[in-house]
Symmetry: C2
Subunit: 308 residues, 2 copies
């Protein structure tokens, strides 16, 4: 069992300010140029984004080969003048970079990585090393999410106060729990089980969301977490959106399947948080302590992602 | 890392004879009745198959609830008069039964389990406990596979001689290797990584096949094996068929992706063996020592699945 490890202190990065240098990288799949530039414009209205010409490289389902994507990622994380790193898109490819990251400590917590979906692989690696990062929109998603989400993202990066609480829609298993928020995409998280890249999950509040996975596949992934003993370690479950996860023609829903799986897990669990691949994707800091109230479906952040 | 464990001696079951009692079970998904009865007729022409009425139960994507499927599985494996256990279909659901099997030693090697795809979860559990089992057709698949496959299946169960060698089509990484044949479905095998159900993989020849997984998903699963250190443990790779694994509209093939992944793994690897979800699904014993020649793409079985 490699789920687990020795917890390390999590230190917050210093707060960003308008005009700061930030990097844009593509560590996973290639992306649509129009939505890339639309998202870039929104970031550029606040910070000074930088990216290399190589970001437009393509190799099958990847934004260029592993060496290119790793060099870009490593360069952004290593540059002390870069205050945040925005991911262009998820898709697939970040897990392929993990072996190149092994053995090298991630840089000091002087910047925040922002992304979700496939970027979960990098978040897990960061939390494995005691870093805070931001589960939030990718660049190509920004323009369609609306100003409130963008505002929340900027506040998360710039204000040394706990972000505003979020509210889910449905209680699957009542109760309250406190712990560090860890996780992200279910497909990607479960691809790190049994590897040296999984952060300690003892006492964690586990965030899960996914897209395009049929109910039996959600079950299979959830069962993997169960077989690996994850539910005996964590203290609570926060479910984001599970979009396009229905079985065509079925007389059951993915929500029904998830509810049953959550109930068997036995830990407090609230669902329907506005996090994931749907119409909303509210940014949340990972690695920070949170309080989940699975009775009223609220998630409270106990510390900020940044320090003043 | 829970890939690994202490190897145990693998003992062969005694050979079946025509007229022997055999069980038919459905530990995973529900199935089509017409192909079930067509397969049953072929088994009944050789042995005396038995099944309970509960086998036709349905619960969403499962052939009845976990308790029903587990009771059926456990009953078939525990009955000393049953000489072989045939699975009706794969699909999904066998992994859900693994926690119920934990802690209980599997029965003495007095019978052989036959199946593939989702049944891989049960094969892994059997090999974890030093048992031989048969990666081969499920009942619903039998009627369309033809007489040669059925003949090979009966010979595998009845004749105390190594099965005839199989031949693949393509060498991905040349070389020779010997080891126990372990594995089956890539999706299912990788859902057992980091759990107590994975058999020791040290020195193994790993069999992999899959269906309906797009190339980036094959990559993601293969990368999971890599992140878990599997390629440092095994001695060779035997790839069966990867059916319906193409990306619509892509200018690359799943075979191209698998070849590249295999080459990066560094162990002898031959592909295109007639094993899996395609037009052929030749039965092969798991847990027995095999010799892979990845230059001429041959797989030789060094011992029989049964003793006389």
């Amino acid at each position: 069992m490699s789920v687990g490890g020795s917890p390390q202190p999590f230190a917050a990065a210093s707060a960003l300010a308008p005009g700061d240098r930030v990097a844009v990288i593509a560590p996973a799949s290639g992306f649509d140029h129009v939505s890339f530039h639309a998202g870039l414009a929104l970031i550029a209205a606040r910070y000074r984004p930088e990216y290399g010409a190589g970001i437009f490289a393509r190799q099958r389902y990847l934004a260029g080969d592993d060496a290119r994507r790793f060099t870009e990622l490593h360069g952004a994380l290593s540059d002390p003048g870069i205050r945040a790193v925005f991911c262009a898109r998820g898709g697939y490819g970040a897990t392929r970079l993990l072996p190149r990251l092994l053995g090298s400590e991630p840089p000091a917590q002087d910047k925040l990585l922002v992304g979700f979906s496939d970027i979960t692989a990098l978040h897990l690696w960061l939390q494995r090393h005691g870093r805070i990062s931001v589960h939030g929109p990718v660049l190509t998603q920004l323009a369609r999410l609306g100003g409130d989400t963008l505002e929340r993202l900027f506040r998360t990066l710039e204000v040394a106060e706990p972000p505003a609480p979020l509210t889910g829609t449905t209680s699957y298993v009542g109760g309250r729990a406190e712990g560090r928020l860890i996780g992200g995409n279910l497909s990607v998280l479960t691809r790190v089980i049994g590897t040296p890249y999984m952060p300690p999950l003892e006492g964690a509040i586990l965030l899960l969301e996914d897209q395009g996975e049929r109910p039996y596949r959600l079950d299979r992934m959830w069962t993997h977490l169960r077989l690996a003993g994850v539910f005996e370690r964590i203290s609570g479950l926060v479910l984001g959106e599970f979009t396009h996860c229905e079985e065509p023609g079925a007389d059951y829903s993915s929500a029904e399947v998830l509810r049953e799986l959550a109930q068997a897990s036995g830990v407090p669990c609230a669902a329907g948080f506005p996090i994931g691949h749907g119409a909303r994707n509210e940014p949340v800091p990972l690695g920070v302590p949170v309080r989940l109230d699975a009775d009223d479906c609220s998630l409270h952040f106990l510390t900020a992602a940044v320090r003043s």
